[in-house]
Amino acid sequence: MKTIKGSSGEWDIVIGMEVHAQVLSNAKLFSGASTAFGAAPNSQVSFVDAGMPGMLPVINEKCIEQAVRTGLGLKARINLRSVFDRKNYFYPDLPSGYQISQYKDPIVGEGEVTIDLKSGESITVGIERLHLEQDAGKSLHDQHPDTSFVDLNRAGVALMEIVTKPHMRSPEEAAAFLKKLRAIVRYLGTCDGNMDEGSMRADVNVSVCRAGGYEKFRADGSFKHLGTRCEIKNVNSVRFIAQAVEYEARRQVEILEEGGTVRQETRLFDARAGETRSMRGKEEAHDYRYFPDPDLLPLELEQAWVDAIAASLPELPDEKRARFIAQGLSPYDASVLVSERELADYYEELAQGVDAKAAANWLNNEILGRLNKAGLAITECPVPAAANNAIIRMTADGTISGKIAKDLLDIVWTEGGDPEAVVETRGLRQVTDTGAIDAAIEVVIAANPGKVEEVKHKPKLAGWFVGQVMRETGGKANPAAVNAALKARLNLPDEG
């Protein structure tokens, strides 16, 4: 049961999302100005973007392609005919007084995204549609007491607005969905998903209803089973999504349990306070007066062109995940690895020709931990995947022991170098030579007569001996061989 507990009973949380993803392209959707992030104010603005008199939009083919590519990644229907509409309203960062968007006939229709939860459960979140639209410029309201400053660099950049169906049921699902969507667009190369740079933003719709209402909604599609929803605008991190949903759901439950009604409104998430707040002055319902943009013609796509894009898609997270599982990874491990394409690519190179599980463990236990501590991304890892692959191979074929492998990683991590060469120059090869092991055992026995006596009564002390022998050999002895030799030499019973 996916519910939250109120004072009077269980409640369903129902979540839908509208994600705005900036399209990766050189130029804007309807003008030739650059989309590069971080430029000097108003230095990447064409007269078209600025809404100057007589200026006209001309569509960028790359943006169309990216939208179709994303739609295919969402397993969605590509609409071969779509229309651009004007959404009319006044705001200083909207120079023309209208945004060119798509209203009734979007370029992409229904699709779906599968998300894998920590519990191992997989759920499908329906996608309602994806459409192309212009981004607005940026207004700075906090630089001066009486003046707002407007920079139009971002005005006209292509956005894909991805609208989900209300199929998410918890803060965890909402966060997982956004992470998955981000991974998909990054895999496809259609959006860089940088939420802190604002290239991906989410508006989250949250409502609650008495437990059971959601199932009824899924059964007959009627929204009357659901509660009044509030929109939390511009949540700009995955972490904040979960917090915002959590707070908002509880807020609504509290209102309803006190006998009140939830007012349909737009809210902002205050990250510092961890709360959602009502947006002042946005109470008036907007009348956007949508109508087809008469400066453009309907967008028509050829099926063959769409098919060519479909044929060029890279392997997506779900497919990669399935392949990793087939290779022996657990569903959870596979999910973690495919969440970032760079991580999955790193893993695959690292896992070439070695046991998949061993490779995944090595990556998770040794690499990711070190990266996290150093605050580095996988792309900044000082040890190339191929080097890790070498270390794993040498461990697998007995060239080095497990312990030496970790030491070797430390060396290569801080000093660089080729692991195989380091093993040779530093003499890290695992000692399997029984003669050397026997000699080391004799040294330890000779130095610890007392313990030799003890072990006859306490067989478990054999472990201490193993450690000592390992130390004597500089850690290079093969532990299994040491164990076997010790047992034989000390006449220890087999413990299995």
């Binding site: 809404g51 008199p53 007589g54 006209l56 009319n88 023309s96 007084g97 209208y98 007066r289 008469p294």
Partner: protein, 498 residues
């Protein structure tokens, strides 16, 4: 021609001046100077918002150099007037509105760039109805334009038509060789008709709209306003182009329109749409229409009666579609990035409301309100969506009619020029001026007005020909035949050159 009087020079046609310049009989500088003087003397007509005498002479000199070197462009050295709706780089552009303030475009419209590339000379920016909204040039922030024509024995000021009233007056008064105009519901053809000049609105998409202050995007089209049909053919050939900067500009090469003019009309099927014979149409308008049909018949054309059943719905359809698009197109005039900004705004809303309330004139405000309303929630289907369906029906009417004819012949306007202030009390009365012309914009077809004759009171009347899409060649050929038969030589007496 040594010893040519200024009058001779300004009375030339575009074609005549072109030939004289090529033959080096006159220089562009002489010609340009003559027009500059005429414009100065003609200030009483208020045809120009901005005169660009200095720039004109510089351009003329450059043209003379090219003419001497044998590198003449199609319009080399020919002085033209430009409707102040075309953005001209470095020269103030106003759209005849207070709200554009002192806006100096940092870019050039494609149409005017084409003209300068062809070697033309810019005399100045002509007056118009504010944002091209009007049929009499009485809504301009810079005051009305006066028609150079006056009724017999009258010195009442008459309107030059609109919205391209400044251009039509300038051409009729010999203040320029020719001018550019724009036509959304009749704004080239109607003023041409009431000033005894030629006005051509090409097929939608023939000329680029890039850099032209937008009124109604799906209807606006630039076109030539000239003294003769030949001049219109010459000017259109340079104005038109394929423009990648305008998504509604059509990918068709520009034909040599001048070369097909003399083809005659033998065997041409001329359609007479019966629904244009409206009640209350003045007798002389109807009579001229009938006479024109006879002229064409005499030259070998076949006269066919056709029906355009949805004609009467065209004007109301236009007055939904045009204001709707305009309300959105004019949202950018907000005092933020250019143009007029109200003083001491309290907040952003006040800045918008007062800049626009103070910057836009009454007719523009009226149309913005109409447009905003018909697009608003609850009304879109009943009005805008319905009007767009009516456009389909109107277009289908024309498609069907053109199965049995090649061009259509109608009056251009329901009457001659009227007095200033005569029709300003009721907006609807003014809107009715476009009754014969709006259908053509709604269907996106080409239309031309040619002077046909004079009324009893000595005022010009025009004849309209409507052609098939991108068939300006046939249209011009038919227009030439009408012009030849009409033999309209009358010119207004120069009462304004005090």
């Amino acid at each position: 021609m040594p010893g040519s009087s200024s009058n001779d020079l300004t009375a030339m046609t575009l074609a005549g001046a072109r030939d004289a310049l090529k033959a080096r009989k006159i220089s562009s500088r002489e010609l340009t100077a003559a027009f500059i003087a005429a414009i100065e003397a003609g200030r009483g007509l208020n045809a120009f918002v901005t005169e660009t005498a200095e720039v004109a002479l510089l351009m003329a000199d450059a043209s003379d150099k090219r003419l001497a070197a044998g590198e003449a462009g199609a319009l080399e050295g020919l002085p033209l007037a430009i409707k102040d709706l075309f953005c001209t780089k470095g020269t103030r552009t106003t759209a005849a509105s207070k709200i554009l303030g002192d806006f100096v475009p940092p870019y050039e419209s494609t149409v005017t760039q084409n003209l300068w590339n062809a070697g033309a000379v810019m005399l100045g920016k002509t007056n118009l109805d504010e944002f091209a909204m009007g049929s009499s040039n009485e809504t301009s922030f810079f005051g009305p334009v006066v028609n150079p024509w006056r009724a017999k024995d009258s010195n009442m000021n008459l309107v030059p038509g609109g919205s391209s009233g400044g251009s039509s007056a300038a051409v009729a008064a010999d203040l320029c060789l020719a001018a550019t105009g724009t036509d959304t519901g009749g704004s080239i053809r109607q003023p041409a008709a009431v000033t005894g000049t030629v006005g051509l609105k090409p097929t939608y998409g023939r000329c680029s709209r890039y850099g032209i202050v937008a009124f109604a995007s799906s209807l606006d089209q630039a076109g030539p306003m000239t003294k003769t049909v030949r001049d219109a053919a010459i000017l259109l050939a340079s104005m038109a182009s394929v423009d990648p900067k305008d998504s509604t500009s059509v990918d068709l090469p520009v034909p040599d329109y001048e070369s097909v003019l003399e083809g005659g009309v033998k065997g041409l099927r001329v359609g007479i749409p019966k629904e244009y014979r409206i009640e209350g149409i003045p007798a002389d308008v109807a009579a001229l229409w009938d006479k024109a049909a006879d002229w064409l018949k005499a030259q070998g054309a076949e006269i066919v009666e056709v029906s355009l059943p949805h004609t009467k719905y065209a004007l109301p359809t236009y007055y939904i579609v045009a204001p709707a698009e305009a309300s959105s197109n004019l949202a950018r005039y907000d005092g933020v990035r250019f143009g007029y900004r109200a003083a001491h705004p309290r907040d952003i809303t006040d800045l918008y409301e007062r800049s626009r309330g103070e910057g836009f004139g009454a007719e523009v405000q009226r149309r913005i309100l109409i447009g905003t309303y018909v697009l608003s929630a609850g009304y879109y289907d009943a009005y805008y969506a319905r009007a767009q369906r009516l456009r389909t029906l109107i277009k289908r009417d024309f498609d069907a009619a053109f199965e049995t004819c090649d061009v259509l012949l109608t009056p251009s306007t329901p009457g001659p020029a009227f007095g200033l202030g005569a029709k300003t009390s009721d907006p609807l009365e003014m809107y009715l001026q476009d009754v014969f012309t709006v259908t053509v914009n709604l269907a996106g077809l080409p239309g031309i007005s040619v002077p046909g004759g004079l009324t009893e009171s000595g005022l010009p009347l025009g004849l309209q020909l409507i052609g098939k899409a991108f068939d300006e060649g046939t249209l011009l050929r038919a227009a030439q035949a009408v012009e030849t038969a009409a033999d309209f030589r009358a010119k207004p007496a120069k009462w304004w050159a005090a």
